[in-house]
């Protein structure tokens, strides 16, 4: 058995090893609370919270570091090191490393060189091994992630002013896990060009699948180039609802209730030889007007729950490239 170790650095005097008691964290916490509440309800409360946080944070840090900033006691004069005992002379042969002579300075002994070489080479090997591994872990999710164009059917397959629930496999090799759903409404014509409202079913709260608040009619399937597209028209669609946390949207995808932070994402599309081709998705803050006359406030695609306009958008200054 080893003898019990003494872990008290104060020589067993029982001095508590704690910072001095301080009341400032309470004010700091109140400041933080005001800050967050203000973020939601009012700018004035936000500013008050920020000021409180800054003041009490400063006071707290000042208190907590008072011990460190105290003038250190004058260090006692270090006694001259006693002359060490003469080195034990080597019995045979010349010394391994001759003592530097008068005026000769040892700049870089061999042991230092070996130490630096070992550490340096070790670090280099570590870097060479780690960098590609880390890159392989982190980068692939951002590369070659584009949305391929999907042919979802002829323009005539989409009856005017009815939402059609359209599902397809984004990547048939991956199977069902790549199934995506778009709510497509044919708005008739805007001038000469056909107009479509194409909403993503990805709830912009946390990504659950929004459902159409309507009556599904008969489903039809179409296989084209090995790609199956299912289309289900809906009668009397009154908007969209999310089953997870109750987010509600109107027929233009504008949020009407619940936790979502913006309007539903939409698909870019083009008409090619009478066929409707879906492209990438983009994010929408809100939509003014309806149908073919809608004014869409378009933004770069952002993840669910991320604000794209207003003060909260400052929290998401950068979006990864898609």
């Amino acid at each position: 058995m080893n003898p019990p170790r003494d872990v008290d650095p104060h020589g067993g005097q029982g001095t508590p090893h704690e910072p001095t008691p301080t009341i400032w964290p309470v004010g700091f916490a109140i400041g933080i609370a005001c800050l967050f509440v203000g973020l939601i309800i009012s700018t004035i409360v936000l500013i008050v919270g920020a000021v409180l946080t800054a003041i009490f944070g400063f006071l707290w840090i000042r208190d907590a570091t008072s011990g460190l900033r105290a003038v250190p006691a004058q260090p006692q004069e270090e006694p001259e090191p006693a002359p060490s005992a003469p080195p034990i002379p080597a019995h045979k042969g010349p010394p391994a490393m001759p003592e530097p002579g008068e005026g000769e300075v040892v700049r870089f002994p061999r042991s230092k060189l070996l130490e630096a070489t070992t550490l340096g080479l070790g670090g280099l090997i570590g870097l060479v091994v780690t960098a590609p591994v880390l890159g392989f872990t982190v980068l692939p999710p951002f590369i070659k992630q584009g949305h391929p164009e999907i042919d979802v059917g002829a323009v005539d397959d989409f009856p005017e002013n009815k939402f059609v629930t359209t599902t397809y496999l984004l990547n048939p090799e991956q199977g069902e896990v790549s199934r995506r759903t778009a709510y497509i409404r044919n708005n008739g014509f805007l001038g000469d060009a056909p107009s479509f409202t194409i909403l993503s079913n990805r709830c912009v709260h946390l990504g659950c699948p929004v459902q159409i608040n309507g009556l599904p009619l008969k489903k039809s399937s179409e296989t084209r180039d090995g790609l199956v597209v299912d289309r289900t028209p809906n009668a009397a669609a009154a908007g969209f609802g999310c089953p997870c946390h109750g987010g509600q949207y109107d027929t233009e995808g504008n949020r009407t209730a619940g936790p979502p932070v913006r309007a539903l994402d939409r698909y870019e599309f083009r008409i090619d030889d009478g066929r409707l081709i879906l492209g990438k998705t983009f994010s929408v803050s809100e939509v003014d007007g309806t149908g073919a006359d809608a004014q869409i406030h378009k933004y770069t695609q952002a993840g669910p729950g991320q604000h794209i306009d207003g003060i909260e958008a400052w929290l998401y200054p950068l979006q990864p490239p898609r």
């Binding site: 982190v138 991956q174 990504g207």
Partner: protein, 262 residues
């Protein structure tokens, strides 16, 4: 004849202990294990002090059942659900091992919380044990990450949508959120890479990290010792009238009843 008997017994004992002596002479492991297990602990510790060992046991159960499940599980979107069904319905005692892993996960987290509560209420996180509190907190966080990454593996509707919500929750984190989400799921949406990634994190990265941290945690427990309850007459700072009590070992020789009150 009567003389021979104890000699034979001694010889037999020697023969039995020979492998241990052999090991001890070459590695010191026997002494090490004895040092680890038969430590001095305060006389007035309670059942609350066993919660740490209980958490460790729960972790070991998770590790063992997890290794067995990994022999049958297939982390591919087309086969994952079917392999889980195979484990549960077809394999002998598969339902039991999967059930132990599934419920043991909750037991592990609950025990860690109880252990944490005991440490907090007894003030056992204070100097010089702050570092051990921090390591424990890291183990708790990693334990919960185990739960998050493991939840996707059954690959049913609950797993799929719960993971989408969980990943997107983390992707709403300020500044790094939009990048964190894709890194977690290996793309902008859940796909085959997500399942393999979660499987790797769940059964290789995180258990390894937790095991390493548990090693550090135990090293510090052995080095710093166990704390008496705050109300203990032996607690730090309390005066001890009379001569200091003789050292007692809680495990080897329990203190005689009644000697607690001095």
């Amino acid at each position: 004849m009567a003389r021979k008997k104890p000699g034979r017994k001694d010889e037999l004992l020697k023969l039995l202990l020979y492998p241990l002596d052999w090991l001890e002479e070459r590695s010191g492991l026997v002494g090490g294990v004895k040092y680890f297990l038969f430590r001095k602990v305060p006389g007035d510790i309670s059942w609350g002090h066993t919660l740490g060992s209980a958490s460790l046991t729960a972790f070991i159960v998770q590790a063992v059942t997890g290794v067995i499940l990994a022999m049958y599980y297939s982390p591919h979107p087309d086969t994952a659900y079917e392999s889980i069904r195979h484990i549960t319905d077809d394999l002998w005692a598969g339902w039991l091992v999967r059930g132990m892993h599934r419920w043991g996960a909750s037991v592990f987290i609950i025990l860690m919380f109880l252990h944490m509560g005991r440490v907090f209420l007894y003030g056992a996180y204070k100097f010089p044990r702050e570092l051990n509190w921090i390591i424990g907190a890291l183990i708790l966080v990693m334990g919960m990450m185990e739960g998050f990454f493991g939840y996707l593996l059954p690959w049913d509707q609950t797993a799929y949508w719960a993971t989408i919500v969980g990943v997107n929750l983390q992707a709403t984190g300020p500044f790094v959120g939009p990048f964190l989400g894709p890194v977690l799921q290996g793309g902008y949406d859940i796909g085959p890479d997500t399942l393999a990634r979660f499987y790797s994190l769940h059964m290789l990265v995180l258990p390894g990290a937790i095991a390493g941290l548990i090693g550090l945690h135990l090293y510090l427990v052995v080095r710093l010792g166990v704390v008496s309850p705050p109300w203990s007459p032996e607690a730090a700072g309390n005066e001890r009238p009379g001569p200091p009590p003789a050292p007692r070992s809680g495990l080897v020789a329990p203190s005689p009843r009644g000697s607690r009150r001095r």
